[in-house]
């Protein structure tokens, strides 16, 4: 199974500068583990431990075939051969209260 994953600029330090890499997995969680095996360190930038459960980081967006994975099961989202996965960090900020932000 081969799934193309588009990597944003800020994470290309993990992929030797590559804009897109190939990974595999039947779910998004498995795909991220496959990415981690080839590009150590990248997983930590995509997911975080929330009270004992691993979940997508709040300010990371991942899309499968243009669908935000938050609406299709998150890390349990199912993947098939040929799916297109895009990773994009949120464009966000503001004057606001930094205490409301999760630890980075």
């Amino acid at each position: 199974m081969a799934i193309e994953v588009r990597i944003p600029t800020i994470l290309r330090t993990y992929t030797g500068g590559e804009k897109a890499v190939t990974a595999d997995g039947a779910s998004l969680g498995a795909l991220i583990d496959s990415l981690e095996a080839d590009h150590p360190g990248i997983k930590e930038r995509l997911v975080e431990d929330k009270n004992g459960t691993v979940d997508l980081r709040r300010f990371i967006n991942i899309y499968v075939n243009d669908e935000d994975v938050r609406f299709i099961g998150g890390l349990d989202a199912e993947l098939s051969d040929g799916d297109q996965v895009v990773v994009l960090p949120a464009v966000a900020g503001g004057a606001g209260d930094p205490a409301q932000l999760p630890a980075h």
């Binding site: 600029t9 899309y63 994009l88 949120a90 503001g94 606001g96």
Partner: protein, 146 residues
């Protein structure tokens, strides 16, 4: 240094004033590697907040697909602060994810929706380090200015 044309500068300021007190946000795209802010794209602040901005996740994907198709990148990423100075907040620094972009901050705290000068400042934000840079507003971008 950020070199930006007067019309784009004015459009960013107008957007910030129009959306005040909500934070306005958007980008100015340019050809990859050119450092030329050529095409203003106003974005919707999905948070609709006076202290926070975030692009809607669908808008974000559409934006980056469009940039990809056009061989562009975000040269400027701008947003406004409506009650505080035009300096990156802790949140701004923590969430900055385009090390190649000019982060423009506009403060509308002085005049809100009304006419009058605003603070318009530009920064690089790389690995949590903020470096302010000069802003040069030119009548039009020419080939030599990049």
């Amino acid at each position: 240094m950020l070199t930006i044309d007067q019309a784009t500068y004015d459009a960013i300021v107008a957007h910030a004033k129009r959306d005040h007190p909500v934070e306005a946000c958007g980008i100015v795209a340019g050809p990859e590697g050119s450092d030329r802010p050529e095409r203003l794209v106003e974005m919707v602040n999905a948070a609709g907040s006076p202290t926070f901005y975030e692009y809607d996740s669908t808008d974000l994907l559409e934006l980056y697909k469009d940039l990809d198709r056009r061989d562009e990148e975000p040269v400027v990423i701008y947003h406004s602060h409506s009650a505080t100075e035009a300096y990156p907040s802790v949140t701004d620094i923590k969430l900055a994810s385009e090390p190649g972009a000019h982060y423009v901050l506009v403060s509308t705290r002085e005049h809100g929706n009304n006419d009058g000068p605003v603070e318009f400042r530009s920064y690089r934000i790389v690995d949590g380090v903020v470096t302010e840079e000069e802003v040069a507003v030119v009548p039009t971008l020419t080939r030599s200015e990049s």
